[in-house]
Amino acid sequence: MRVPEPSVGARAIRDRLASVGTSPVTMALVLSFLLCAVIILVTGVNPLSAYAEMWRGASSGSGPRTVIDRAVPIIGMALAISIPFRTGIVNLGAEGQMIVGGLAAALTAIHLPGPGAFVIGVSFLAASAAGAAWALLPAIGQTALQLPILISSLLLNAPARALTSYLVKYYFGDPTATSTTTVAVPEATRIPTLGWLSGASATAVPVLALVVAIALFNGRTAPGYQSLVSGINLRFSRYGGVAVARQTIVSMGVGGSIAGMVGAHLVLGQSGRFVDGDLAGSGFAWTGLLVCLIAANRAVPILVAGSFFAALQVGGLAMQRSAGVSWQLAQVLQAIVILTLAMRVVPGMRRRGSSEPTPNLEADVIGQIAPGAADVVKV
């Protein structure tokens, strides 16, 4: 692997751009598109025309707006997941954290009087608190009871679905609706759309700010560095004086809080009500997880990969309409990208355990959660 010169400013950006073409991620993408072309061919459709429809669907008509509206929750979930992942904590419970956040926001928006902007703010706070609380359950389970978060966070997804469904059905439901849903939130508490952003939801702006904030936190602060070190080598991190238990609690809490706010966005910015099963069915949590993996937990690459995966999904739906190729191909494509990265199929990726120098600690964990994460769960 080439060891890059330490570079600053414009040169750094130029170097980064130059390396995009040969980066393992680019090659994994090319390989995945080729593999999926074979799959499309097997089903009797011309892959080139299918991909052309995919591109057309994502880039023309309502495509750009839909892509941004899909990218916002995907990037949000990826950021939420990246914070614990970076410290080596495998949080598979983001879906549940998002769902409880969504319900908390819906109930606040429906019942809290006041001006729209104020109610939106409080709703996001409520969602953030609910998501964080749901994430703290497995965090405390790990620090106090030694239950691996990998397992307990995942096990809490179904109870989150069941609990919110129960609450909506028996306590907060819309009696006039045939499905299990809350009433619509007041019009004033809906998140506005932005004309200059192709009419996409205004949440895109705070999400961009969050990307920058997390990038700065990770790259420029001591706790950000400590979380990276913990993700790479937990023992070393503790040896260096990091309070690992506190780090676990805080990173899970922050991640859960962001996931909860994504739920709030989906309710106040998209559907306008909490519909049972909608948030879980959206698959944003799992897409976000894949985005986080491909971006190796880094905020700016999450922005890029999240937008790309959103475009893939929107294009996939268009492809289904016009080329007769089922949209799930987009899911297949996403999973294959991660598999090729994790399996180090593409050249230029370091195998774990080799003795080559590692110029960039963060980039080195593409396709891994954190090198130490797998060792945490042992029977």
């Binding site: 307990s152 503790r238 690992v244 991660i338 994460a373």
Partner: protein, 306 residues
């Protein structure tokens, strides 16, 4: 009320719910003993269910369907074998990606092959026959539950002692455990570590495929999108909870089967469907808490070195 809840029919549904989880969990425990963290059971089972139904539909033979499920399961698990054992990729990432790939691929192929979405139900799909064991099946209470099953169901329960003997009473089992506990030492003693790990992962693919076949051709006769619905993850937890010991894993699987069976029954008695949906998951969490075992061994997060 309790006589209504606890009867032979409950035991029947407990056993039915346990069999797919048990098959997958036995595969998971063999991997665990070989030092491979196997969390792709969910996706492997789903592929098995899909191939089982597809092959049974096309061929009109349930056992060809089972063979298809085995092939599908082993093909899926080969991704973990190549990616983790040979290429040293992160088993958690590969496992998660396999699970999502399985959901996407089966959801993609269902409309592509059979021109429908959601649920694939057709009289041409031949289900697995049940075989009654004479005399034993007439036993009160347990007879119907344990001695009137599909061949795959019997196999699941027979495998528990067989795997125990294999692990703890044979040279192969000793080497397998050695590979898991200290691969370097096993290698030094001349044990082909990679071969053992490959075989373990392939076996888990075979068994998770069988679990899918039992689910889609035994418990019901249909394929539904994402029909495994977390059973593969429960199997992963069963391995953890049962300490990768065949009888411990059996007990854990029966516990989950009991929670699921009881859930169905409670639902019939007017309980909210949400409460019964959450029951197996909550029971699993509670079991993990009550077991009060330190599942995290390598790193003791309270501050002391492990």
């Amino acid at each position: 009320m309790f006589d209504q809840l606890f009867d032979a029919a409950l035991l029947d549904s407990v056993v039915r719910a346990s069999v797919p989880i048990l098959l997958a969990a036995i595969g998971g425990l063999i991997c665990e003993r070989a030092g491979v963290f196997q969390i792709s059971l969910e996706g492997t089972m789903l592929v098995g269910a899909f191939t089982a139904v597809s092959v049974s539909y096309v061929s009109g033979n349930a056992y060809l369907g089972v063979l298809g499920a085995i092939a599908g399961g082993m093909a899926t698990s080969s991704l973990l074998a190549v990616g983790h054992v040979s290429r040293k990729g992160d088993p958690i990432v590969i496992g998660i990606a396999i699970n999502l790939l399985a959901v996407g691929l089966t959801g993609f192929l269902l409309p592509q092959f059979f021109d429908l979405r959601g649920v694939f139900r057709d009289p041409a799909i031949v289900g697995l026959e049940k075989y009654e064991i004479p005399l034993l099946a007439d036993l009160p209470v347990v007879g119907n539950a344990l001695f009137d099953m599909t061949l795959v169901g019997y196999l699941a329960f027979v495998l528990v002692p067989v795997v125990w003997i294999m692990l703890f009473r044979t040279a192969v089992g000793l080497r397998l455990r050695g590979v898991g506990e200290n691969p370097a030492a096993a290698h030094t003693r001349g044990v082909p570590v990679t071969t053992y790990q490959y075989t373990a992962v392939a076996t888990s693919g075979l068994l998770a495929g069988l679990a899918g076949a039992q689910l889609a051709l035994g418990n019901v006769v249909q394929f539904a999108e994402n029909m495994t619905a977390g059973r593969g993850w429960i199997a992963v937890v069963a391995v953890l909870l049962g300490r990768a010991h065949p009888f411990g894993v059996l007990a854990a699987c029966l516990l989950f089967g009991f929670a699921e069976g009881l859930g169905f029954r409670l639902q019939g008695n007017g309980f909210a469907v949400q409460a019964t949906d959450a029951l197996p998951w909550v029971a699993t969490l509670l079991a993990l808490v009550i077991a009060r075992r330190r599942f995290i061994r390598l790193v003791d997060l309270t501050g002391r070195m492990a």
